[in-house]
């Protein structure tokens, strides 16, 4: 074997071994590094400062900040963290760099307003972000929808929600459901149908995975809330007719002529407590439910499902 051939073989072997070692070591380093510090540190939180520092490359910087925002939320959500302190500043920097970046506004409406652990718990900041978006994109009806969405879901301010939906419905090209939503707010704001319409619209109007999963989770929770409400009414009817609390869900099913015990969207039967309360058997699977939880139950951090079962 000549000298050059020997060098080639040795150098190639060294390269391959080193590459494999580097990959393995990087995976180990990722595990031991304190990631928390990096995740919760936004060195420049002033949108104006970042805009000036971008030296005219605002579009590219906006894309980088937007990706960072999604990563920040996704990573913390994956770790089931309960705080999203940097979400607001990240979205503000992103939209200051590119005021026309619609997905950032939509993300803000979905995750900036809800109370922890579902979001950053900053509805006022979310509203400011939406109003900034509307100011810069007055022809985008979806921003009105997002603003109304925040008023409706987080603040239960149906008056403002109706007003914003009505304004959005005037924008050329606005989806017809904007008019329906505006009308619904006046009298049927608390109906399940209205809420379902809103969350379905949220699901259909985006391709962003985390927003879609969040909307699906709310739709699943709405289904459970409606089921529990209907079953609780059935229990009341049973008590009125028989003068006693039903002993099992089977009795309810028989009295209401149902084909079987009603089940939640995951297929688990609803339960009945000894004092006639309808309960969800796996409440942790439905982090947004407002009915059917056992007494003293504290919801855990949300986890997203990818499809409605």
């Amino acid at each position: 074997m000549n000298s050059q051939r020997r060098t080639t073989i040795l150098a190639t072997a060294c390269m391959v071994v080193s590459l494999c070692a580097c990959i393995l070591l990087l995976q180990r380093i990722d595990r031991i590094r304190p990631r928390e510090i990096a995740d919760d540190t936004l060195y420049i939180s002033s949108p104006k400062m970042v805009r000036r520092a971008s030296l005219g490359f605002d579009g590219l910087m906006a894309c980088i900040y937007w990706t960072r925002t999604v990563q920040y939320f996704g990573h913390r959500h994956f770790l089931r963290e309960r705080s999203y302190n940097e979400l607001g500043p990240l979205l503000e920097v992103t939209t200051a760099l590119d005021p026309h970046l619609y997905p950032a506004y939509q993300f803000g409406a979905t995750f900036l307003a809800p109370a922890p652990p579902n979001g950053a718990g900053q509805p006022d900041r979310a509203i400011r972000l939406m109003r900034y978006g509307i100011k810069n994109n007055p022809d985008n009806w979806q921003l009105y929808y997002n603003l109304g969405f925040v008023y409706y879901t987080e603040l239960k301010d149906y008056g403002h929600a109706a007003e914003v939906f009505a304004q959005g419905s005037q924008v050329p090209g606005a989806h017809p459901f904007m008019k329906i939503l505006a009308a619904q707010m006046a009298q049927h704001a608390e109906d399940f149908a209205t809420a379902r319409l809103l969350w379905t619209a949220a699901y259909q109007s985006t391709k962003e995975t985390q927003i879609r999963e969040n909307a699906l989770e709310h739709l699943r929770a709405l289904q459970v809330d409606e089921d529990v409400t209907n079953l609780q009414n059935a229990v009341t009817r049973f008590v009125q007719a028989n003068g006693r609390i039903p002993t099992s869900p089977w009795e309810i099913a028989a009295a209401e002529h149902l084909q079987g015990i009603p089940v939640d969207p995951d297929g688990n039967p609803y339960e009945l407590s000894t004092d006639g309360e309808v309960l969800v058997s796996q409440p942790d699977e439905f982090p947004f439910i407002t009915k059917g939880t056992p007494p003293g139950y504290k919801p855990g951090p949300p986890k997203f499902h990818t499809k409605l079962r």
Binding site: T7, S18, C22, G74
Partner: protein, 258 residues
Amino acid sequence: MNSRIFYIASNTFREAVRDRVLYNLIAFALLLSGAAVLVGQISIDIEKLVVINLGLTAVSLFGIVIAIFIGIGLVSKEIEKRTLYTVLSHPVRRWEFIVGKFFGLAGTLAVNTFFMAIGVFAALLYVAHRFVAADSLILVALYFIILQFLIVCSLALLFSSFSSPLLSAVFAFSLFVIGSFADDLRGFATLTHGITHWIATGAAYLVPNFSALNVVTAVAHEQPISGQLVLQNTLYALFYTAMALSGAVLIFDRRNLK
């Protein structure tokens, strides 16, 4: 180390000194002493933080610039001046030439870093008036910076083994910038799917991970650095350097120098 590699390395070091590379220390000393005096007057409660951040960042940037601009000329300059033919006419193998050049440049940077470290500690003493135990963490940060230099030196040599000095500088500097965002790159890769995911993940693992070697902020906040991280980072830097040097040897060994 074999004696031929040692001679090439010591010659490279001498050449760098003759080229007045160590003059950067004067600029560094001026920057740091100026900053130390200035922050003492304008910073409130964060004088030490500013000096550590500024000092370590300057050590890193000065070193990276030296590593790139000296590294890219190590091979091409020898070819240009035709001194390479004299070297290779002796019983020196090409891989020994590359490895010797690497050690020479690494040695230059180590000496440079040593003097700059003295400057950082002097500035720190000026603003804080005394040292505390946590200041020893600065040594860990300096060690990680030297590990970064080793990777950058090997990359500069790799590029200079097949490209022009200008392009080598662009490649090496670009890889340094990309490597500084390696964490984000791997984060982006996790967001992708299918074939894009594999390509992005592959690229993310192939670029040097400088972000893991950057503990300046953590050290400035006196956060402890685990022994495990020191060990893994050392091994990572050594393996990455070996990989890049092997690539340089492979290319240079087959290069037609006529």
